[in-house]
Each structure stands twice: as C-alpha cells, then as structure tokens.
C-alpha cells in the first residue's frame, strides 16, 4: 500500500488517467464517469490509470479510527482490486463526495453500501470493456484482483489495459450493478492493518501541525480567557522587539453566537514557532471579561442540581411515575453530576491558510472539511468555490476538530499578512479555549415493589446545551441531545417519566466522543446498579430484568421525539434483545459469577448508542489505602455488519480507556476562566492506570452497519463506579472519581 498526496495524484491522473468514476451526494443517484481525457472531477472514488494503478479516494477524515483503511477495504473488495497496490487519495472538502463530517460514528454506516456500489460499478464496466474487446458475453468475464479473464478461453486483460475503453462506456444504473454476496467478500470483514503504519512508525506521517511550505509564517494567539471577552488595552512593544516576530494582529472580537467563528484576541505572527510563542508571552493585554466572568463551577453545579430537583419539561411519559413513587413503600433516589471535559486530542488544533487573489487554500487537521470551507468562505467574504480545504491526518480529534474555528483564524491572519500562515494551538490554548463537553446534573427517583421490581422511574437531566453555542438564547437541550441515551431509555419499567431542565451556557459547548451519552449512561447505568443493591439482587441479573424481554421500543407512542442518529427505526430499531444479548455475552466472557481475589470486584453497564449495543464489565482492585486500579476490562459489542474486526477491537480498547479518562478528568471555571491548562491538572488516563488488556467480543451479525468509534465509551464510567461500589461499599455519584476511595 502506498499513498500519494492529492497534488501528485492530480498530476499523474491528468497525464495518464483513463478511467474515473464519481459517486454522488445522495445514495441512489447515478454514478457518473468523468471525462477520461483529463477533466477529472474532485469527486472521485475510483480511478484506474492506463498503467494499471488503482486509486481510491477516502472522503472521510482519518483521526485514528482507520477509516483510510476501511474505506479502501470496501471499495477494493467490490472492485476486485488488489488491496496492497491501491493508492489512497485523501479528498479535499467538497459536497460532491456527500457528507464528509467525520463524526457521529457514521463513516461506515452511511457509506458501506454506496462505496460498495462505486467499486462494483467500476468492476462491471471493466468486465463490459473486456467482453466487447473479445466479442463475448459479459457473463463469461470474471474480474479478479486487477485482471479480467474470459473464463471459457482463458484470455485475460489487466485493469490498466481495459481502463481507457471502460472509461468510454456509459455508467450502468445502480440497480443494474450486481454487488458481491457476503461469502464473496475478500476484504470486508477482515482484519487488515492500517494503510498509514509505515508513515506513522517512521515519523513521515503529515498531521495538521506538520504542514510545510515556502515563506510559511507561524501564528499563536492570545485568546480572551473568558468567552466573549474583549481586549481593553494592548501593549505589544515587547512582543514586536523579539527577533523573528513579524507582526501583532488584533482579531475582531467575537460576538454571540460563537458558532465556529474565531474567538478573537491578539495574534503574534513570526518566522518561527518559538518566536511566536515568546512574542505571545511578551504581550501585555488587559481584558474586559464580559458577562461570562460570572461563571463559577461550584455555584453553577448547585444551580443545575436545584433545577434537577424541580419539575421540568416532560419529554417521555409512560404511566404515572411521579404518582407511583409518591405512594410507594420502597423508594430509591440519587443525584449524579459530571463536570465539563475537554477532548484533548494529542495534536492540538492547527491550520495553515494561504489567502491571495480572492482565493483561499486551507490545510488542516479537520473532521469537517465542508463546514471549514463554508465558514472560512463566510469569514473572508468569498464564495465556497473559492476556498479549497485539504485534509491532513488528524492527531486525534474526539469532536474538537469538527469545529473549524482554528481554520478561520488562519485564514483571517493569512489575508491580513499577505502570506501563508499556520496557526498552532498550544495545549493550554486547547484546554482553556475549547468547545467543552457539557457539565451536567441528573436526578433519578424510582419505586420498588415488595419483590424488588422497579415499578416507576422518574429521571430529570439538566445541562447547558450544545445549541447554546449556536444560539445564546437556547436553554433547553435539543432532541438531538435527548436522543443520546436519555429518551431512549431501554428499561421495561411500567411507569417512566423523563424530563429536561433548563440551563444557560457560559462556555462554548461542543461534541466529545459519544456526547451526552457519556453522562446519561453514567446516571442510568449507575442507578440500575443502585436499584439492584436496593433489591438485593445480582447487578447483572437485575440489569437484564430492567431491560426486559426482547422487543422494539416505540418512543413515539410515549411522546418522545427521537432522531435515532438520523437513521430510520425500521432499519435500526431500539432492540432490547440485542442489548440483553451483549449483557449476557460480556458476563460470560468475564466469568461474572466466578470468585475474585480479595479487594477485586466487577461492575457492569450496557448502553446502546450510535445504533450499536455495548456491554462493559470493569474489574477493579482497591488497596488498603483506598487507591483503586482498573485490572481488566471486558467488552461485548454488537455493531451489526463490520468492515474490519481489528479496528472494532481497537475502538473498544481505546474507547474504554477514553471512558476511563472521562471518569477522572474535569474542567472547571473560576470567574469564567478555565482552571486547568495542561496534562498536570487536566487528568487523562496514563499507561499505569490503564488495563493491560481490553477483552473484546464482537457479535457476528449481518444487521445493517452501525457506529463503532463512539459506542464503547459511554458504558465505561458506570461500569467503573459500579465495580468500585462492589469493592468498597462507597457510591461515586459525582465525577470525577477521586484517586482514593474510602471503604464504607
């Protein structure tokens, strides 16, 4: 496998290309052949040169999920191209590819079929070209591994020899193209190693931070410490005196709503990173912090809790949960809180822009090249067509890089400077000026009958909504966030009432791996365990009892709006049978009932998110001082049809460890200023804290493909605190989990 950058590719293609295929935005729209004599559209998925080189375009961003591998697996399989010889092209931002926003765990679930069709269409055209060349029936022509063979005569032609002729054929309608049957899959479903392994292990991989070009200026920015703060006074004389500093530029103050716009502040532009950083340190800025200086995390959390204790807007109702609880003999209630978190990808945001002659070109580690294009165009007053967005590798992303604010900064500064500018965010910038995972408070009350059955569940969630980033007046979480593990509660409890409270946002709220599922699964799955304890039942058995019999949940019948991750319920129902199945499988895998060594205990949690079912068991040990440690993790996952089982495993491993980080990290603010700044005070999981192994069990399934990148994260934190309760008798309801837990 080799890779080729887009420029090289275009040069090669323009000189020698013979055959190109375009897949269009909407599934079902016809595939079109581009002009083989050079009018190559940027919306290519498959290109075959007359020398036989097969190129496959990856239109999704690579951020560690190995999408550059899995997309090639899918296309090459149906194309019958030799995987090892395929050139991978990274697509720029262009709506012609269809959706490119690499979030929501949807690269495979939304593209598997259309990319199979793209590969299969090309294969059929190559077979057709061969049939015409030989004057035989296409059904006698097989395409296998870059060669078409006329089976009766044994004649054969390579793809390169057929490419020109194939490129002149009309493109067949999608419904006339035959896809392989599953048993014919050569690459789909196989553990194939990542295409970028050589580049990564030799230091040659190019991330957003690594973009190089002639006359490149480096910028770092002193951003307002408080959201919507402004510069009151600036003394940049010391900064300008530093050798290498070229310019100091005050960016326009950000007005609400924040959206994806630049935060404002003061940029130092220099000939080197070091000079830019020293220059920024030398700036003397007095800030007007504005209204958000009132934001203090402890008081804010109290206000969320007070809201959670008051009646709020009902978003799903079955029976009469408050009434049943009011008259119940056995009641259980609990409040759960979780702090803001920062995505903290290892590579902080970075973008390079070259703006000149009414055009802009961006190179960025972005999850979202199309909204980068649109936002940069808007900021510069250009048409989107005048903006080219090139996607580098992403050094992690986790939702942070689905906001293009850093590319906007680079574009504004490049225009100002009249030179290419690379904006680099330091770790402190990333931690202090982020788009934060929402802080939350939840209250749950339940009633138990004499047999320990849960008869009513009344749950209220309160958190500042992501929509406040786009509309400062937004106080209620949207259907999107309610659909992330809250209204889709899978429990069979006869009386259920779910409510959302209101909260005001004071920082930019954004997506973080699995988003609101993190805190909703934390509360729901912790409380399920609390109910098991109250009922004196085995937590796994009680969880299965709560999940109840196999059925498809009809949320509409209970008044809930449910987007189902933008996929149809007919194809992707909320299937409690599949949820119960992963619970049973993970319990078997972990030997749930087996005896554990002294000080060790197990906790379990299960959650459906992004249409995928995951159950996690965490095994902890707690020493005599109360210091706890994760010894083992077991995950069972049902993600429907999968493309690369090793990548699914890797996401379960990494997603679990990300879940551990979500359980121990916190972002807080004092007077609107984020208190944390780097990995010394924003705690993330390290190797000694992480399990030596995450045991992953993948359910074999031919159900439609579902999400993989995010679903392993939500069940981790509740499984962890449930295990810690079993080990110590102490219930952790307020995240972060402290490093030492007293036994009670």
């Amino acid at each position: 496998m080799s890779t080729l950058d887009r420029r090289q590719f275009l040069k090669v293609s323009l000189s020698g290309s013979a055959f190109a295929l375009t897949a269009q935005l909407l599934p079902g729209r016809a595939l079109m052949a581009a002009d083989h004599e050079g009018g190559l559209s940027p919306s290519l998925f498959v290109n075959i040169d007359s020398d036989g080189t097969v190129s496959i375009t990856c239109h999704r961003s690579e951020m560690g999920q190995h999408v550059r591998t899995s997309i090639v697996q899918v296309v090459a399989d149906e194309l019958e191209a030799n995987f090892d010889d395929v050139q991978v092209i990274q697509a720029p931002g262009d709506p012609a590819y269809g959706d490119q926003n690499t979030d929501g765990s949807r690269s495979i679930r939304r593209n598997l079929t259309r990319l199979r069709q793209a590969g299969a269409t090309a294969r059929q055209m190559l077979r057709q070209a061969a049939a015409e060349r030989w004057g035989v029936d296409i059904r006698e022509c097989d395409a296998v591994q870059n060669v078409v063979t006329h089976t009766p005569s044994g004649r054969s032609l390579g793809y390169g020899e057929l490419a020109a002729a194939a490129g002149r054929l009309p493109v067949p309608e999608a419904d006339s193209v035959e896809l392989k049957s599953r048993d014919q899959w050569r690459y789909i479903g196989k553990a194939i190693k990542h295409v970028d392994l050589d580049a990564v292990t030799s230091g040659q991989a190019v991330f957003g931070f690594d973009v190089k070009m002639e006359n490149l200026h480096i910028a770092v920015i002193a951003r307002p410490p408080v959201l919507f703060g402004t510069v009151k006074s600036l003394d940049d004389s010391a900064a300008r005196a530093i050798p290498g500093v070229i310019n100091v530029v005050q960016l326009p103050a950000l007005q609400p709503p924040a959206v994806f716009n630049a935060l404002g502040g003061v940029a130092v532009i220099a000939t080197s990173t070091w000079a830019a950083m020293r220059g920024r340190d030398a700036l003397k800025i007095e800030w007007d912090h504005g209204d958000n200086a009132s934001y203090n995390s402890p008081e804010y959390m109290q206000s969320l809790l007070e809201t959670a204790r008051q009646p709020a807007e009902v978003v799903r109702q079955r029976g009469d949960a408050p009434g049943v609880i009011a008259s119940a003999a056995h009641k259980v209630s609990a409040e759960y809180t979780a702090p803001h978190l920062s995505q903290a990808p290892m590579e902080p945001p970075a973008a390079t822009a070259r703006v000149s002659d009414g055009k802009a070109e961006i190179w960025a580690c972005t999850q979202t090249p199309q909204s980068t294009r649109a936002t940069v165009a808007g900021a510069l007053g250009l048409e989107p067509e005048a903006v080219t967005v090139n996607v580098t590798l992403l050094g992690g992303a986790f939702g942070r890089k689905s906001k293009p604010d850093f590319s906007v900064e680079a574009a504004l500064l490049s225009r100002e400077q009249g030179a290419p500018v690379k904006v680099l965010w330091t770790r402190e910038d990333d931690i202090r000026n982020g788009y934060y995972h929402s802080v939350s408070a939840q209250r749950i009350e339940a009633a138990l009958d004499d047999e320990g059955n849960t008869t009513a569940w009344h749950h209220r969630t309160v958190f500042p909504t992501i929509f406040s980033t786009f509309n400062p007046a937004a106080m209620s979480p949207g259907a999107l966030e309610m659909g992330l593990g809250f209204v889709d509660n899978p429990f069979v409890v006869p009386n259920m009432q779910l409510e959302r409270g209101q909260a005001k946002g004071h920082v930019r709220i954004g997506w973080l791996r699995s988003v609101a599922n993190v805190y909703h699964a934390f509360a729901t799955q912790s409380f399920a365990h609390e109910l098991a304890v109250a009922a004196k039942a085995d937590p796994k058995d009680y969880l299965l009892k709560l999940i109840g019999p196999p059925r498809h949940i009809d949320l509409a019948a209970e008044g809930a709006e449910y987007p189902n991750y933008d996929d149809p319920l007919e194809a992707y129902p909320i299937d409690t049978g599949r949820l119960a199945n992963v619970v049973r499988r993970v319990a078997e895998q972990a030997d749930w009932s087996g005896k554990r060594a002294q000080g060790r205990a197990l906790g379990i949690a299960a959650h459906r998110s992004f249409l995928t079912y995951v159950a996690t068991i965490v095994e902890v040990s707690v020493d005599t001082d109360g210091r706890w440690k994760v010894d083992d993790v077991f995950v069972s996952i049902d993600a429907g049809t999968i493309v690369n089982p090793d990548d699914v495993r890797a996401q379960c491993e990494g997603g679990s460890i990300y879940g551990l980080s979500c359980a121990i990290g916190q972002i807080t603010a004092t007077n609107g200023v984020v208190d944390q700044g780097n990995f010394n005070d924003y705690k993330v999981a390290t190797m000694p804290q992480s399990p030596h192994q995450v045991h992953v069990d993948i359910v074999e399934s031919d159900a439609p493909p579902a999400g993989v990148g995010e679903p392993p994260t939500p069940p981790f934190a509740p499984a962890l605190v449930n295990a810690l309760y079993e080990a110590t008798g102490t219930r952790i309801r307020d995240l972060p989990v402290p490093p030492i837990i007293a036994t009670s």
């Binding site: 990542h194 991989a205 931070f209 590579e347 992690g396 390290t686």
Partner: protein
C-alpha cells in the same frame, strides 16, 4: 554550536534557549517529533539525547551543544527495528500522533532493560500519553519486541 542529528552534524547559531523541538521541526523540517504539551507532560516530543530519553519541548538547544540527538526518523538498529516491526505487527497506532514519542521512549526502555516486566513498562511509559488509548497494544508490542530480540 554543533549538534549531531541522526548521525549528521548540524550547525546552529540561533537562540540557545529555544527548545530542541523547534530546531528539529522548524529549521530542519523534521516533523516526526511532535508537539503535545510544551511542558514535558505528555512525551510526544521524546528524542534521545546522547542515548537518553529527553523531552525535546523543554530541553533548550544549549543542552545539545556538541551532543548527539536521535529522532524517530533515525530510530534504527536492532531495538528500533524490533519495535517498529512489533508496532506494525500488532497494528498499534490509531491516530499515530503520539507514537513517535512512544517508540522513542520504548526504545530507551529496551536499551536499558532487554526483558522488561509489566512494572518496568509502566514506569518507563507513564509519561507518554496516548488519547486514543493504545496502551494495551503498546505494552504487548514492547513485550513482542523484547522477545524477538532476546
């Protein structure tokens, strides 16, 4: 001043307080060594300075005067090749950004201790953060490389 980078002697006449990281990345255009935190808190910038694992983001050029630096681009020899081979065999990297530093740190570990136990691995690798959570595979790859070597 003179400094040897991956066996080649280089001249440097700039600000001696500048961290080695920016000499490598900005001046030599060797971008395999990564910026992650700027405070020696994450290990993404790990290089070998006269064979010792060193955080390039906080180590000034003055400390490199007359000395020898090895970066990911120059990681070779039996230990380096064994580690890179194990990294690939186990498909260790996810996003890959921290892996230069992980490999350099792991190489130092195996140079000092050809057969590390889990506790040795924990101790040596504790300062190298991976947000993708590749730690279990890094651990397994270090053991695989150690076994392959011994």
């Amino acid at each position: 001043m003179k400094v040897t980078i991956n066996g080649a002697e280089r001249e440097f006449s700039g600000d001696q307080s500048m961290p080695i990281l920016w000499f490598l990345r900005d001046e030599l255009q060797m971008t395999g060594t990564k910026f992650g935190c700027g405070k020696a808190l994450c290990g993404a910038c790990t290089v070998h300075l006269d064979g010792q694992p060193t955080r390039a983001c906080v180590t000034p050029m003055a400390a490199a005067n007359g000395r020898s630096i090895t970066t990911i681009e120059g990681l070779d020899g039996s230990v380096g090749e064994a580690l890179k081979g194990a990294w690939k065999a186990l498909n260790v990297p996810q996003c890959g950004y921290c892996q230069s530093g992980q490999l350099m740190q792991a190489a130092s570990l195996l140079n000092d201790n050809p057969s590390p136990e889990d506790a040795d691995i924990d101790q040596a690798m504790a300062g190298n953060i991976c947000r993708c959570g590749t730690y279990p595979r890094i651990r397994a790859a270090i053991k695989m490389a150690a076994e392959g070597k011994s």
